[in-house]
C-alpha cells in the first residue's frame, strides 16, 4: 500500500485536475462567473504539476542515476518557461492578444511533439496501436508548433504578406504524403521489419522535419482576414495532440483535457467559418485573404461627408444609438475615447448599445475584450443575432473602423465574395454615420453600398481625432445650456 502511495496521489491529483478543468470551463458560460472559472482550473493545473514530481519514486532503473540532474532540469525548465510566459502574458497589449495566444498554442503543440519524440527515440512504445498514436500525436503537434509560429509572425507583422508559391497545394500535399510515408516506414521498422535505407533515428528526424515543414507551408499562404479561423484550428490541433500523447503516457487527465480543447477548438473553428460564410476547407485550401476580386457593378450615388461635430450633436439628440466597432477602432487605439463619448450620450439619456460581429478582430471575440478593456460594461455589448433586429428602431448607427461586416452586398450581390456572410444590419437604422480614415475599401477589398445609401453620411478622419471632436461638440452644448 505504502509503495503505491505516490502513484495514488498522482492519480488523485490528475483526476482532480481533469474535473477542475471541466468545471472551470463550465463557469465561463457567464462573464460574472468566468474569473472564478479560470482560477479553479489554475488550481487543478498546480495540483497536477506538483503531484507529477512524485514520478521520482517510480522512475525506471535506467533513469535512476540521472534522477538528481533530471529534477534540477525540470525545476529550471518550469521556472524559465513558466516565468517568461507569465511575464509576457501580464504585459502583452490586448490588441496583440491573438499572436500571443498563437504563440502559447504553438508551445503546447511543441511540448506534445517533444514528448512523442522521447517515446520514439527511446523506442518506449508498446505495440502497434501505441506507436501509431504516438506518430499521429507527433505529426499533429509538430504541425501545430510550426503553423502557430507562422500565424504568430503574420499577426505580429513579422511576415507582412501571404506567401504563395506556384503549385502551393501540390507542394503541401507532397509534404503531407511524405510525412505520412516516413511515419509508415518508422512503424514498419520498429515493429520488426528490416531497416530501410536510413537508421531509425534518422527517419524520426526526417519525420519531424516534414511535419514542421507542412505546418509552415500550410499557414504561409493564408490571408490576414482568415486568422480567426487559423488560430482556432491550431488550438484544436494542439488539444488533439495532447490528448493522443496522454493515451501514449496512459494519463487520462491529458487525454480528457486534450480532447475537451480539441472539441472546443473545432466548435470555434466552425463558428468562425460560419460567420464568414465559408467552409473550413475553403479557408485552408484557397487564398481568399486578398486575392484579386472580380469587377463589381458600379454603385450609384455619392459619398456625403459630414463634420464630426455635427454627427456628435445629432447623436446627442437621438434616443437610440447603436455603435458598430471594427478592428479599425482598435488600430486607432480609440476605444477609450469611444466609451468617453458613450458616457456623455448616456448622461443625456440616449440609449447606447454596442453591436459586435463575430469576426470583428483577429481572433474570435477580440472586439469584446477590447471594449471591456476600455471599461465598456458587458451588458451594453450585444452579438449579431441578439441585436440585428434592433437596428430598424435605432435613430443612429455609428460605424467605426468596420466595413465588410456592415456591407449589404452580403445580402444581395450574388457575385460578391462576401455574399451570404451574416452582417450587422446597420443600413436599417434611420441615420448611419461611418467613421473612416479615407475612401478606401475594407479588408476584403470590396466596395460598400452602405456608404452610398440615402441615410448614410461619412465622417472622415482618424477614429481617435473624430471622437475627440464629437466629445468636444457635445460638451460644448452642455456648457452653452448651463
Amino acid at each position: 500500500m505504502l509503495a503505491n502511495l505516490p502513484q495514488l496521489i498522482i492519480g488523485l491529483a490528475d483526476l482532480a485536475a481533469a474535473f477542475l478543468f471541466l468545471y472551470g470551463l463550465q463557469r465561463m458560460s457567464s462573464p460574472a462567473t468566468a474569473p472564478s472559472g479560470i482560477l479553479v482550473a489554475g488550481f487543478g493545473m498546480v495540483a497536477a504539476v506538483l503531484a507529477s514530481f512524485l514520478y521520482v519514486f517510480s522512475v525506471s532503473a535506467a533513469a535512476q542515476p540521472h534522477l538528481g540532474v533530471n529534477i534540477g532540469l525540470a525545476l529550471i525548465a518550469l521556472v524559465i518557461g513558466g516565468g517568461l510566459a507569465w511575464l509576457s502574458g501580464k504585459r502583452v497589449a490586448m490588441t496583440a492578444m491573438p499572436q500571443m495566444v498563437a504563440l502559447y498554442n504553438g508551445m503546447g503543440g511543441g511540448a506534445a511533439g517533444a514528448i512523442a519524440a522521447v517515446e520514439l527515440f527511446g523506442n518506449k512504445t508498446q505495440g502497434a496501436t501505441q506507436l501509431l498514436v504516438t506518430l499521429l500525436g507527433a505529426l499533429i503537434g509538430a504541425v501545430s508548433l510550426s503553423g502557430s509560429l507562422i500565424a504568430w509572425a503574420k499577426l505580429d507583422g513579422v511576415i507582412k504578406k501571404p506567401v504563395r508559391i506556384k503549385g502551393q497545394q501540390a507542394v503541401n500535399a507532397v509534404a503531407m504524403i511524405a510525412a505520412l510515408a516516413v511515419g509508415g516506414v518508422i512503424l514498419f521498422v520498429t515493429l520488426g521489419g528490416a531497416p530501410l535505407l536510413l537508421a531509425t533515428p534518422t527517419w524520426i528526424y526526417v519525420f519531424f522535419g516534414l511535419a514542421l515543414l507542412f505546418g509552415v507551408l500550410m499557414t504561409l499562404p493564408i490571408g490576414g482576414a482568415d486568422m480567426p479561423v487559423v488560430i482556432s484550428i491550431y488550438n484544436a490541433l494542439t488539444g488533439l495532440a495532447v490528448g493522443l500523447e496522454g493515451f501514449v503516457l496512459q494519463n487520462p487527465a491529458l487525454m480528457i483535457a486534450g480532447m475537451v480543447v480539441g472539441a472546443a477548438g473545432l466548435l470555434l473553428t466552425l463558428l468562425m467559418a460560419k460567420a464568414m460564410n465559408r467552409s473550413v476547407a475553403n479557408v485552408v485550401f484557397t487564398n481568399f485573404g486578398d486575392a484579386p476580386k472580380q469587377v463589381q457593378g458600379a454603385i450609384k450615388g455619392s459619398l456625403r461627408p459630414v463634420e464630426a461635430s455635427d454627427a456628435g450633436i445629432a447623436m446627442r439628440y437621438a434616443s437610440k444609438v447603436i455603435i458598430v466597432p471594427g478592428y479599425g477602432l482598435a488600430a486607432a487605439q480609440a476605444q477609450q475615447k469611444l466609451y468617453e463619448f458613450v458616457k456623455l450620450l448616456q448622461a443625456a439619456r440616449v440609449e447606447v448599445k454596442f453591436a459586435v460581429h463575430p469576426v470583428a478582430g483577429r481572433m474570435p471575440g477580440q472586439m469584446d475584450v477590447l471594449l471591456a478593456e476600455a471599461g465598456v460594461p458587458y451588458d451594453l455589448i450585444f452579438q449579431l443575432e441578439d441585436i440585428n433586429d434592433d437596428f430598424a428602431a435605432a435613430d443612429v448607427a455609428l460605424v467605426i473602423g468596420a466595413n465588410d461586416v456592415v456591407n449589404p452586398a452580403a445580402r444581395t450581390e450574388k457575385t460578391s465574395p462576401i455574399f451570404g456572410m451574416p452582417i450587422l444590419n446597420a443600413d436599417k437604422a434611420k441615420q448611419v454615420y461611418v467613421v473612416k480614415r479615407g475612401e478606401g475599401k475594407g479588408y476584403a477589398g470590396i466596395q460598400n453600398a452602405l456608404f452610398y445609401g440615402d441615410n448614410c453620411n461619412m465622417v472622415y478622419g482618424d477614429a481617435q481625432a473624430v471622437l475627440v471632436k464629437m466629445i468636444e461638440a457635445v460638451r460644448g452644448l452642455g456648457a452653452a445650456a448651463a
Binding site: 470551463l25 462573464p31 479560470i38 510566459a85 495532447v242 475537451v260 472539441a263 463575430p358 471575440g365
Partner: protein
Amino acid sequence: MDVSITMTGFVALYVFMLAAFAGWVIIGHVPAILHTPLMSGSNFVHGIVVVGGLYALLNASTVQEQVIGFVAVLLGAGNAAGGFAVTQRMLAMFQTSEPAPAHAHSHAHTHARVHHLKKKS
C-alpha cells in the same frame, strides 16, 4: 490496492468520446462575448501537457532524452503559465454597469433605466 492505470483500445476511445462530447457541450454554452478568453483558457487547459513533459524528463536516461524532455517541460510550462496569465487578465476586464447578482446581469441595466425614468416622471 492496484492504483496503476491502463487504458487500451476501447476504454481509451470511450474516454476520448466522452471528453469530446463534454467539451463540445460545455463550450457551446459559452457566449460569443467570451470567445477570446475561452480560447486562451482552453489554450491554458492543454498546458497540462507539461505533466507529460515532466514524466518524460524525470524518466530520461540519455542526454538526448534529457534535452528533449527539458524542451517539453519548458514549452509546456510556458503554455500553461502564459495561457493562465492572459485569460485571468482578460476576464478581470469584463465588468457590468453596476454591481448586480450574477443571474440578473442581462436585465440590470434595463431595470435601472426604467426605474430612473419612472422617478423622473
